[in-house]
């Protein structure tokens, strides 16, 4: 009997299932999607996660670009963009995943993903942090296999538990405020009076 959607591992669409999932490999190849967020040169002097204006600043700092499959995006040396996986990844409560760049891109000087953990219950596209640390520009073609997803079983979480991170449900690459939950404490910790 088919499991309910909630309990299924879904990676969709798989454009070439035979090539992306092979018995010989312990991972699923994922492809580069069509949306990019490109940092812009602005008069913004810094990104500060403790700044109350951080999210507004991020919006001013980022340009969104849509590159259709068949077109390309050129990533210049020392340039950084946020990309996305073409595939939507839906993990049930008992699976987690890691995204790792494919070595063939790494050998060209491309770093694909740095924040690689995907929690049980996550449902969304995966944001890729792509940097070119090589010496020459690299063409990024949406649709190419760019990373691999290692999936592993986890225990302890229940059916219905969902990843509640800010990235849950992402339909495009996203930045977020890493200090949101702790901002007030961190900002006050130095100057708050010690208990007498």
């Amino acid at each position: 009997m088919t499991k309910p959607v909630k309990e299924r591992l879904i990676i969709t669409p798989l454009l070439a299932p035979d090539k992306q999932v092979s018995d010989a490999a312990a991972s699923v190849d994922v492809r580069l999607g069509q949306k990019f967020q490109v940092p812009r040169r602005t008069k913004l002097s810094q990104l500060n996660h403790l700044d109350a204006e951080h999210e507004r600043n991020l919006a001013r700092y980022i340009d969104e670009t849509f590159v259709r499959i068949g077109d390309w995006f050129v990533l210049h040396p020392r340039q950084f963009v946020l990309g996305e996986t073409l595939e939507w990844v839906h993990l049930p409560h008992d699976l987690s995943a890691y995204v790792v760049g494919r070595s063939s891109w790494g050998r060209d000087g491309l770093i694909i993903a740095t924040a690689t953990g995907v929690h049980p219950g996550y449902s969304g596209i995966l944001t890729l942090e792509i940097s070119n640390i090589g010496e020459i520009p690299v063409y990024l073609w949406p649709g190419v296999t760019i990373a691999q997803l290692f999936i592993q079983q986890v225990g302890g979480s229940e059916v219905g538990d969902r990843d509640q991170s800010a990235f849950q449900g992402s339909t495009e690459p996203r930045s977020a405020n890493a200090a949101e939950a702790d901002r007030r404490i961190i900002k006050n910790i130095k100057d708050s009076p010690w208990p007498s």
Partner: protein, 391 residues
């Protein structure tokens, strides 16, 4: 020069950066199924309105006597500029209205007017009486009488003007009504829901213009198309109830105060409405029309994915061993059912920070649908090209 200005007007005021790119390929595919020689440009503009303009003819005409005339040979037979309101650009479900706009292309290309308009009776006697009354009123009495043109000529001028207004109104109304039927045939109930959502605040139900009939009349016609064609009860009793309520509203008399519109309204009799329905329905072959069985299958097969916040890029179908990418009409219909009848369940499945807020949840549904359009189209196109290369 005026036609060049019109062509450039497509770009002027267009807000390309907020036109959802994901919408273009599936829309193009849907349209080309019905009008194989057409191409589309999608733009969003500041008007709270959907529209369609054919520009290939203008471009050909503009360049016809210039050295660039040969370039226009590469133009498609019809090039439609479809415009969506930029303020609603991300409200994907509303874009089901585009089926009506595509209907304008079909109406013109298939010359559907020729099948309907000759059968509409223009109320010549009523126009004559009205013209006489107006002329007589304007002619006045006593001294004034000698200063104005003679009475019969004035009456003829008024009658001519009235006839033009009434026939023009009838012709435009018949076009719009037929395009509504075509909209229902192409996108099914999704078009009706988008229409009622966008146009029919209660205050406007009886409001008409020379170009558009009163929404109440349009609702009446669309309900009459929907009921026999779609197993609404089978899909969801709440959807069936909702259509039932609109049927009641559409069935009430149109309260029309303007004389010319009243005359046009009288000409569009129940028989003419039935003819419009028949001609519109016959213009879309069964293989391309959205059907009742598709509606039922879509709700059973696509809705469970969307309800769990997963885009429907490929869907296991009963009829096919491999999962298939759904088409635009399928996704729009499921999206509307989810919004109108199953929204609470959808919200409960979203992460707490989104699901707790109705507007954020609706925004997420729109994003999910756009993602479904994008991924389903990539899957379809990829398979097509892979098969072409194999073959």
């Amino acid at each position: 020069m005026p036609s060049l200005y019109q062509i450039l007007g497509i770009l002027s005021g267009a807000e390309i950066n907020i036109t959802p790119a994901e919408l273009v390929p599936p829309l193009r595919r849907s349209l080309r199924n019905i009008l194989p020689h057409a191409e589309i440009l999608l733009r969003s503009g500041p008007d709270l309105n959907y529209s369609i303009d054919e520009i290939a003819d203008d471009i050909r005409q503009f360049f016809s006597e210039t050295p660039l005339a040969t370039v226009t040979e590469n133009l498609p037979r019809a090039l439609y500029v479809m415009s969506i309101p930029s303020v609603e650009a991300n409200e994907v479900l509303l874009h089901a209205i585009l089926a009506h706009e595509a209907g304008h292309g079909i109406y013109d290309e298939r010359r559907l007017a020729d099948e309907i308009l000759p059968k509409v009776e223009v109320p010549a006697e009523q126009i004559k009486e009205l013209a006489r009354a107006i002329a007589s009123e304007q002619h006045g009495t006593g001294e004034q009488k000698n200063k104005t043109i003679s009475f019969p000529l004035q009456e003829i001028a008024v009658r001519d003007l009235l006839t033009q207004v009434v026939t023009g109104t009838i012709s435009s109304w018949v076009t719009e009504l037929t395009c509504d039927v075509l909209g229902v045939m192409i996108f099914g109930p999704a078009y009706f829901f988008a229409f009622t959502h966008l146009f029919s605040t209660l205050a406007m139900l009886d409001e008409a213009s020379q170009s558009h009939p009163p929404p109440r009349l349009r609702i009446r016609l669309m309900c009459s198309c929907l009921r026999p064609r779609f197993g609404l009860k089978e899909v969801d009793s709440r959807i069936d109830d909702l259509i039932g309520k609109w049927e009641v509203i559409g069935g009430e008399d149109v309260n029309q105060g303007q004389v010319a519109f009243k005359l046009a309204l009288n000409s569009i009799s129940p028989q003419i409405l039935a003819l419009v329905e028949h001609v519109g329905a016959a213009a879309i072959p069964d293989s391309l029309a959205y059907s009742s069985s598709q509606f039922v299958d879509d709700v059973n097969e696509i809705l469970p994915l969307l309800k769990e916040n997963v885009p429907a890029a490929e869907v296991p179908r009963n009829s096919c061993p491999d999962p298939e990418p759904p088409e635009m009409a399928h996704l729009l219909n499921v999206g509307w059912v989810l919004l109108l009848a199953r929204f609470q369940e959808f919200r409960e499945n979203l992460p707490t920070q989104i699901g707790a807020d109705a507007l954020a949840s609706q925004k997420q549904l729109n994003k999910l649908l756009l993602k479904s359009f994008e991924l389903a189209e990539i899957k379809r196109r990829w398979t097509e090209v892979a098969n072409q290369l194999k073959g």
